[in-house]
């Protein structure tokens, strides 16, 4: 910096010369504004530049002089002989300060002159003085703990117009630590009202950093006057480093919006070991074992984490009567139906504002729906634990040794479904215990372990939950089954029947292979009721068996019951709904292609897809000449195409059950009222596939 300092001294001397020149002119023309400005600017430059190059005394003195000349500039102080004489004296002092600021004589002189300014010139003036400049020093920042901040940044609409790049500010925040940003686009107007030079987006930000609030405020210093900026410390810990962070962000729905409550929940869930003792949550709420006496508590401080976290989660739960949840779902069904009406109305009215509101309303009702359905989910272990006892007791009674193994018990299902699953599952279990698993001696002879095994495995299968109940018992004998079927008149002698069809007979009313009525599995009111129960839940049931090896019952259930995301389609003059979860792809298809297709198989994307022409199937009139569509749906490993007229779009469908009269049919699972008041039938794609592929 030495060369630079020298260059500053040169520059300062030049400035002083020009000041002397200006003062001489002012002596003759005390009102010459230009010369006054020159004097002011010289003082201002010396102050700023002097501070830059480390001339602290010079900077603070010229600061006073600048203030004085500001008074002259604004007419509050006359440029009289007194002032000009004083300024000449000041010039001498400034030269000394440039030369050797530490000199004693110079310092006394500075004091005298500063005193003179106070007494002679600025007496009685209340001008707001700018702060004297600090000479820069690199600040030592002590490293603090990583804490977590919540920041809301809503830039002013015109922020881009003065050259601000909001994203750089986010970059700057990101440099300060770990960052998670949530972009909000809901203020973007429709196209007609959109001005591309404006900014409509805003951000919520979670930042973990060791920086303090001043530092964060400083990031926004250029925009703080026009923009809305909120900064709040939400945790004394680095939440972003918590292994559960992303998961909790998603499950609390922070991507949708951020509220103080959600942030509180987030900090509560992502807890870190506290130094101070936390009061134990009330036992009643957690439903956990009573706490051990106080002495043991001390260890807890050393091994807190996981259990502690879980306790807090439980602590946050609220008990609600389940009837209230049902009621909530009913109301939401109405909300969704109303929303469909609103959507229908707004589509037929060219009103951007209305469309805007409708879109928001649709988004909200979907969130509301998902939220309410989410509340109703309970893990399946709540019923499976009841079965453990049942298996234990029953096997005792039968003198059999049976172990019940459960996997995937955390799989969640709607609570109404869980309740309705209890009976069918119990039936299947009873069958396995009674007929499936052999008595110990028989198992020994067959070379099997003495202890029989029943396994209930639950897992997610796309939009479905699969429950698989398998035993390692004796399985079913096809010959025996055939014999019974014939005896009971289900099949005629000499009739060809596949093993699959044979197994389906088990689900017919009145079919039971049990040789005698047993205490446990009853009198053959069995599998037909089970099937009915499962189908009431819009699920399906399948049975596999192998003689000597065991039997497996597979139940497939939809995740939700009453409101689904559907695809609204046109077939002829009617509209239908396909469950969105099953829809895989949509292709346009020409009538020519259909004609060319052989055996109802069409080739798309290099693979062969069996299809059904729903227009023909539903006996609709195909009057239009427009292009048709092929909707590919899948179910397990099978897939199938439906030929339809057109696709209207995504649709939240509240499914209402069909009346008794319509329940005989196999391919519709319900009906839904559309926005315009018409009714659309909901196609059960699984049944459809079963019907057309399996037969």
């Amino acid at each position: 910096m030495d060369d630079l300092s020298a260059s500053f001294v040169n520059e300062a001397n030049e400035l002083l010369e020009s000041l002397e020149e200006a003062l001489l002119k002012l002596e003759n023309h005390p009102d010459d504004q230009e010369e006054i400005n020159t004097a002011f600017r010289v003082m201002h430059s010396l102050k700023g530049t002097g501070a830059m190059f480390g001339f602290e005394e010079l900077s603070s003195f010229t600061h006073e002089m600048e203030s004085l000349y500001d008074l002259v500039r604004t007419g509050k102080q006359k440029a009289d002989k007194n002032l000009i004489d004083f300024t000449f004296k000041s010039i001498d002092l400034i030269r000394r300060l440039l030369d050797n600021p530490k000199d004693e004589e110079t310092q006394t002189m500075e004091k005298e002159l500063l005193n003179e300014i106070k007494t002679k010139f600025s007496a009685g003036e209340t001008r707001e003085k700018p702060e004297p400049l600090p000479v820069h020093k690199t600040k030592e920042k002590k490293k603090g703990n990583q804490v977590t901040w919540y920041i809301r940044f809503e830039p002013h609409r015109d922020i881009l117009k003065n050259g601000t790049r909001p994203l750089y500010l986010l970059d700057e925040l990101a440099d300060a630590g770990g960052i998670k940003t949530f972009l909000h686009t809901d203020n973007i107007p429709d196209f007609k009202h959109l001005n591309v030079e404006n900014t409509y987006v805003y951000w919520d930000i979670l930042l973990s950093s060791d920086k303090d609030e001043n530092f964060l405020r400083d990031v926004f210093i250029f925009v703080e006057d026009e923009s809305r900026i909120e900064i709040e410390k939400i945790s004394e810990h680095n939440l972003l480093s918590h292994p559960e962070f992303e998961k909790q962000i998603t499950s609390l729905g922070l991507h949708e919006n951020i509220t103080p409550e959600k942030l509180q929940q987030l900090t509560a869930v992502l807890s870190f070991p506290e130094k101070t003792e936390v009061e134990e949550p009330e036992e009643e709420i957690t439903g956990e074992q009573p706490e051990p006496p106080k002495e043991v508590k001390q260890d807890q401080e050393e091994v807190p984490d996981k259990e502690d976290v879980q306790k807090r989660i439980l602590h946050e739960t609220v008990r609600v009567p389940s009837a209230k949840l049902d009621e909530l779902l009913d109301i939401i069904s109405e909300v969704v139906t109303t929303q469909a009406r609103l959507g229908h109305y707004s589509r037929h009215h060219e009103d951007p504002e209305l469309q805007d509101i409708t879109e928001d309303y649709e988004k909200l009702s979907r969130q509301l729906r998902e939220n309410a359905l989410g509340m109703r989910l309970i893990p399946i272990y709540t019923i499976l634990i009841r079965f453990k006892r049942l298996v234990h007791d029953l096997s005792r009674e039968m003198n059999k040794e049976i172990r019940l193994k459960t996997t995937g018990t955390e799989t969640e299902l709607d609570k109404s479904m869980i309740e309705k699953l209890y009976d069918p599952l119990m039936h299947i279990l009873r069958n396995s215990i009674d007929h499936g698993i052999e008595p110990p001696e028989e198992r020994k002879k067959a070379g099997k372990p003495v202890q029989g095994l029943i396994h209930i495995g639950t897992s997610y299968q796309g939009a479905f939950v699969q429950i698989k109940i398998s035993d390692d018992g004796r399985g079913m004998d096809e010959k025996e089954l055939k014999k019974v079927a014939m005896e009971k008149g289900f099949i005629q002698p000499g009739m060809e029947i596949s093993s699959k069809e044979l197994l389906q007979l088990i689900f017919r009313p009145g079919f039971s292979t049990s040789k005698k009525v047993s205490k446990i599995s009853g009198r053959g009111v069995g599998m037909d009721v089970v099937k009915k129960n499962i189908e009431d839940l819009r699920g399906s049931i399948e049975l596999e068996t192998e003689k000597g090896k065991g039997t497996t019952v597979k139940i497939l259930l939809p995740l939700t019951l009453s409101i689904i995301d559907g695809l609204l389609i046109h077939v002829g003059n009617n509209r239908y709904i396909l469950p969105m979860n099953n829809v895989k792809q949509v292709f346009p298809v020409t009538r020519k292609e259909l004609k060319k297709s052989f055996n109802n198989v069409i080739s798309k994307d290099n693979h062969q897809i069996p299809f059904v022409n729903l227009i023909k199937e539903f006996e609709e009139k195909d009057t239009s000449q427009k292009e048709l569509y092929l909707i590919v749906v899948d179910y397990g490993k099978k897939e199938m195409g439906f030929v339809i007229n057109s696709v209207e779009g995504k649709y939240q469908a509240v499914i209402k059950p069909l009346s008794r009269l319509a329940q005989k049919q196999e391919i519709f699972s319900g009906a839904s009222v559309l926005g315009d008041g018409e009714v659309a039938l909901v196609i059960d794609t699984n049944k459809m596939i079963d019907k057309f592929i399996n037969t």
Binding site: E11, S45, G48, N162, G163, Y168, V219, F222
Partner: protein, 122 residues
Amino acid sequence: MQNKTILFVDDSPSIRTLVRMILEEAGYHVLISEDGQDALQHFNGKTINLLITDLHMPRMNGIELIKAIRKLSKYRYIPILFLTTETKSEMKNEAKAAGATGWITKPFDKENFIKTINKVIR
């Protein structure tokens, strides 16, 4: 970092020298002017990524320069920083109203000078 071009305007030769050193060391391409009128000559179609200007200058001052730039279609939205010695003042508001993006407070050191520039170009 690509070679972004910064135009620096100040009537103090020593500050100009100092700033040129700091910016070139940081990898920027630097243009220098000593007042507003001189600075305007640079806005002739070439790319300027950032303008940093002092406010008190003879001939054309910083405020006038900022207003002039905001009228040029090609340079209308470039970031503009001004140099100021005051932490709060009417001058600052006037410069912001004229269309400045932000400011750099004098005295500055290398570190906070670059830090402030990083707020507006990266």
